[in-house]
Structure formats: C-alpha cells, structure tokens
Symmetry: C2
Subunit: 404 residues, 2 copies
C-alpha cells in the first residue's frame, strides 16, 4: 500500500472504460483499508482466454495496491441453465461440472492473481439457502420499466422477441451477490454495466454503501474486429501451447498489438508510451511484438518456455515457413461469409475447391496458424486472415464486403 492515491488511481484507470462514481473510489482509497473488489465469472466452460484476463489483470492491479480480490463463481445460475430449454448452448451444469470448471479456473487464475489476496466464492452457497419469499422480496426491489431500459431487453421488447420473466431475475441475483459479498468495487466488461448498476441499487436498498463500478473494454479477437470468443475461433486460450500462443500473438496487426498491450501487458503505461514513441521514430514494431508475445507466453508457461518459443518462432522464419513481410491482399466477397475452400481456390493457393477440401482433409490447411478440419468452414467478412496450405503456400487476405 505504498502508493499514493494519485498513483493508485493512475494504475486503476489504465485501460478502463468507466469508473462510476470516481469520487467514491477516491474516498474509499483514502480509507486506507483493503477494498473488497468483486468480479464474477460464469463457470460455463472450463477454459479461460485472454479476453477474460483483462478483468483478472485489473483485479491483480488492485491486489498489488493492497486490496482483496473477490472471485465470484456464478454457479447458482449456471446450474439452472436456461430453464426455457430454448437455448441449447446453455445447458444446466451439474454440481460436478461446476466443481471441475472451478478447479480448472483456479489453476488458470493463479497465474495472474495472488492467492493470498484472493477469495473464491460460489453464489450457490447463499442463493440456494433463500426461501421463495426471499427471492420474491429481492424481485420487489426493482421495476419492470428500469429493467426494460437495459439495451438488449429494450431491443428485444421493441422487436417482439420474447424475454422470459426469469431473465429479469438474473441481474437482480448478480446484484444481490454484491449485497452478500459487501463489495466495495465491482469489475465487469462494458456489456455488464447495467447489471453492475443493479448491484449498486440493491446495496443501497439493503442499507449498504453502494459499490463503485468499473467497466473494462471487451477485448477484440485476433481478427481485431469481433469480441474474443471461443465460439468465433478468434481467441488465445490461457491453456494454449506456448508455440501456438506465440504464433497467434505474432500474427496480430500492429494496431491491435498496442490495444492488447494496454489491456494485457504488465508493463507500465509510461513504458508502453516510450515503446510507441520509439516505433513512431523508426523502430520496427516487430521487436515490440516479440517482446509482448514473450511476456504473455512467459506469464502462462514460465520464462524459459517463453525464451524457447521465440527460438522456435525464429527457426520457422529461417526455414521460410512464415514470411515476415507477407503482403496483405484485399478481397471482395458478395456475402457476409466466405467458404474457406472457395477462398483458397480463388486466391490461387489451390487449383480447385476439391483440391482445397482434400488439403483440409489431410490437415494441411491453417487459418491464423490454427489447423482447420472442417471443409465447410466459412470465414466472416470484415477481418484479415493468414491462410496457409502445406508449408510453402501462404496468403494474408483482408475480406471485404462488396457493395451491391
């Protein structure tokens, strides 16, 4: 806790979208006590990716300033799943699934968080104890009109898409978690702002000082456009093998590199500013990218393995497997998606779509360094991709939508 308020604030502000209300954060920092900093995660999948680490890194910064990270596993709602049964991607998790995912989370998060300043809590431990009357009482603390102000609800309501009534209960449960946890601060992605505000509202009603909310930007995936997510395939998992992680990081654009550094690097803001300045004055950004990829791989696999990842990457260059100065081609598409097999043919990497399909079958095709097994894969327009067929044939293509 050696930092001054001003120093603490500078660290906390880094990369954030919003801090509400900042005055309250300042006055709480002045109390010189460990703040209870909450961040909630759904235990729906066992592995975390770099997108999740944006929040974890912010939690870690709070820990370094002497505060307590409250890592909330939202297993209560996870075990309910989607009770309408309409959303098959959200099946209810068993108690075993949840514990298994939670174990897997712990392994991963303690590569970032300090275990001595982390409390892991499960909201099922208080939610399952509530009576139906308690839950009704929580539901009485908010109004339909305010809930319909949430952007996705409002859009669905206006466009006639159904909103099941229990969906109004989930933000209230998330808010009630803050009451039980007596959170001083809650972190979340910008898409969580409404729910974080519900937490403030409920804490106030339950006679607590309302939490400060801090939103972080949603990390873009490797394409630099869409949200990093497992289902879009544009992610780097914490559990990715070192060479794969290194290669993926080396494939991102320079612009995206600076964005990632702000949100993912542990370098100070002033160090990053200096690196930017150096590049503006002629330094090759590739050097910075190598340093950054090394930092990230080192964080999850250790320094020695990160050193080795650099060596392996450079060796592949020398064998010409990844040309450093691959030219990017703009390519027009008539629709929102472009079939991979057709694209390989259209770019001249194969002579026909059936040759493309064969190559995919043989495991010879990679997109952004990842081996593709699905012949019917479609690439989203509006992003660039490094396409590779066998060891020698490479193209970097920027898919654009043709204006009709």
């Amino acid at each position: 806790m050696g930092a001054t308020i001003e120093q603490s604030l500078e660290i906390i502000r880094r990369g954030t979208s919003e801090i509400l209300p900042e005055e309250t954060l300042i006055s709480r920092l002045k109390e010189s006590r460990p703040l209870r900093v909450k961040a909630g995660f759904d235990p729906t999948a066992p592995d975390l990716h770099l997108g999740h680490t944006v929040l974890l890194n912010k939690l870690r910064q709070f820990q370094e300033l002497g505060h307590e990270a409250m890592f909330l596993i939202g297993d209560f709602t996870g075990m309910i799943g989607d009770p309408t049964g309409k959303n098959i991607t959200r099946k209810p998790l068993s108690r075993e699934d949840v514990l298994e995912n939670a174990r897997s989370y712990q392994e991963q998060i303690f590569k970032i968080l300090d275990p001595d300043r982390t409390q892991i809590v499960f909201n099922s431990s208080w939610m399952n104890k509530l009576s139906p009357a308690d839950l009704i009482s929580i539901a009485s603390k908010h109004t339909v009109a305010r809930m319909l102000e949430r952007e996705d609800f409002s859009n669905r309501y206006k466009s006639g898409q159904p909103i099941a009534i229990h969906e109004f209960l989930y933000p209230l449960i998330q808010g009630y978690d803050s009451v039980v946890m007596k959170a001083d601060v809650e972190l979340g992605g910008t898409d969580q702002k409404f729910n974080l505000l519900v937490g403030r509202h409920l804490q106030e009603i339950y006679g607590q000082p309302p939490q400060v909310i801090l939103t972080m930007p949603i990390l873009e995936g490797l394409d630099g456009v869409q949200k990093m997510s497992k289902s879009l395939g544009n992610y780097i998992a914490i559990a990715d093998a070192p060479d794969e992680m290194f290669g993926k990081l080396m494939s991102i654009s320079d612009e995206l590199m600076w964005r990632y550094m702000e949100l993912l690097s542990f370098k100070s803001s002033s160090e990053i500013t200096q690196l930017k300045k150096a590049c503006a004055e002629g330094e090759n950004p590739r050097k910075v990218k190598v340093m950054f990829a090394h930092e990230i791989v080192g964080r999850f696999h250790g320094r020695n393995i990160a050193d080795k990842a650099i060596e392996n990457f450079e060796a592949r260059f020398k064998r010409g497997l990844i040309p450093e100065d691959l030219m990017e081609t703009d390519w027009l598409s008539d629709s929102e998606n472009y079939g991979l097999s057709a694209l390989l043919k259209d770019l001249g990497l194969t002579s026909s779509t059936s040759e493309s399909n064969r190559a995919i079958q043989q495991g010879a095709v990679k997109v952004d360094g990842v081996k593709i097994e699905d012949q019917r894969l479609k690439l989203s327009v509006g992003a660039s991709y490094i396409l590779q067929v066998g060891k020698r044939k490479l193209a970097k293509v920027n898919l654009l939508l043709a204006k009709s």
Copy 2:
C-alpha cells in the same frame, strides 16, 4: 349427478361472464367424474361479504352437480405482503393471522358450501417448499411481453407508474397453484381473467390438460355503481347482524335487486323470470325484495331469525321509522364527492354543518341504515343514499354531478 349435460350447463352458465373454452367444459362434464373446481381467496381480511359469495354460490352449484370445490387460501403471498413496503394496506400477515382468518372463513363459507365436497388448501404448503431455482424455473415459463398485456400492468407501464418485478411473479404463482391442484375448472371475478389464463398456460407447459376458466361479474355495492368492498363501505358482510342485513337489502334499488337475485339467490332462473314478469304486470317489487332479503338473511342466520327480521323491519315501518314511499330527491354536486355534514345541512336535515357534526358525534346519523362515525365522510356522486338524522328526519337523495 342426476343432471343431464344440458341441465348442468344451464346451471353453470347462470350469471357467468365467460366460460373459456365452453367445449372443454362440455367434454369434461361428459366424463362423468367429479371435476376439481378451484377458487382462490386472499386471507387478508377475516370477513367475507356478499360480493365474495358470488363465487361461493357458483362453487356450490358445481357441488350440487356432483363436483369437488377446491377452496384455495392464498396465504403464501398473503404472508409476504407487499415487499416493496409501499402499500401499507397490504401488510404481511403472520402465520397466526392467516390461521385465524382461515378459521373465520370456514365458519362463513360452510353456510354456503357443502363441507363433504370441499377441500380447503393453503398454497403456502407447496410454495414454501420450492427452492429458488424452482421459482426461477416457473418464472421462465412466461414472457415479459405477455405479462405486460394485462390491462393494469399495461396502463401503469404506459403512464410511467412503477411495476415492481415481483408483481410479475404473483400471477405465475396463482397459475402454478392450478398445476399443483390439477384444477379442471377455475372460477374468478372478471378482473381475474388474465391470471386464470396464466393458469391454463402453465398447466399446458407442465403437461396437464389446461383448466376451463369461468369468470363471474363483480358484484356492485349497495350504491349499485361501485364494486362491493369493505373500504368503500357499500357492503353487506356475511357476519352482519340479521336486522342490519335485512335493512340494507331492503334499501337497494329495484334494478339492483334483480341483479343481486341473479347472482345471489338460490332460486332457479325460471322462478326469477316469473317474478320479473309478475312485477312487470303490476305486482309490487317490494314483495320480491322482502322475499329475497328473507332468503339471504335465512342463509346466514337461519330461517327463524330471518322471519324475525321481517317482523322487526315491518314494525319499524309501522312506527314510521322508514317510510315506505320515501321520495327520492335529485341533488347536484359540483365535485365527485359530497361531504356528509354539508349535505345534511343542504337538505335541511340539520340547520348547520356544526349541527351535522354534533349529530354524527352523538351517533345519530345513519347512511343506508349504517351508523356513521366519521364527520369527514364524503359520499360519492352518482349513487343514491338514505340519510337519517335521529329517529324522524329522513331523506333519500340521488347525488348527481352538476355539468360545468
């Protein structure tokens, strides 16, 4: 169960507003088994009035046709009260209050219902056993948009009046009661139609044949205009003393008498039709009114006491306390309400409002036979009243709104 389907239907249809769907009711009647006929009551007040007996009478008719009355006491929600704390008239009831009210209900309802064909159930007995996850699952079975179609919700939403989220749960709980009770038919006032339909919806989702819903009109109070209700003071309580009950029934208009007879008398429709015809041909409706008042007083106090109530009433006439041919005066009011003290003065029953107030204080003022204690009482415009000061001064006034 001697009645044919057609006879049963005629009895069931009497006085109803809607039967939905009537085909289903017919096919269930054809099954020749005792149907489970649900009606729910809030145990918020210990005494029932004639308005409540509209449903009880319909339940009794079902019983006479061989069916089972399921008298549901909604104590679960009653014990929650209004968790927003905004509605002070709806304080949570204690377990003792509920049991006390339920005991008081039983005494009253078995003056109408056949105890051998009545099941009294409390919804707390299943609701309190639900887990929070169960309640969330119930909430998932309906949508926000459909809930907002309920007229009062829709009006409040449009006019910016708050709707607390738990208010969306109450109709679902009422509907879930039908699931647990496996109701074949549910009765309710016309104001309950939406909630009864939620019951159908939930039963279908839970794999049950949905209940038939049967709505009954809301009984007007003694004023013939507003809903009979304790808070409006225009009611006849089941527990009213025989003479009071008799007097109140004798005070209603002829038009209202026919309405009451349809919904409250156990005379058959054809008997009532004959009485109407007789009056149209010159019979004095007062004779019918006496017969009807005798029937109702007899139902709740026994035949002998009802006989005595007629005697007492006639004796008061003879002493001139209630002139049979009291003329009704139309009286214009500038606003929706007319202060009683002012009205007594304006009609010449007292010489000043302070004399009116003194008379009220001394217990000398009655409105429609009921002693008034509140000097600030205001009478609603749009109804007629019998006003009495002391034993001799009487007026029947029809309050009308002056057109501005």
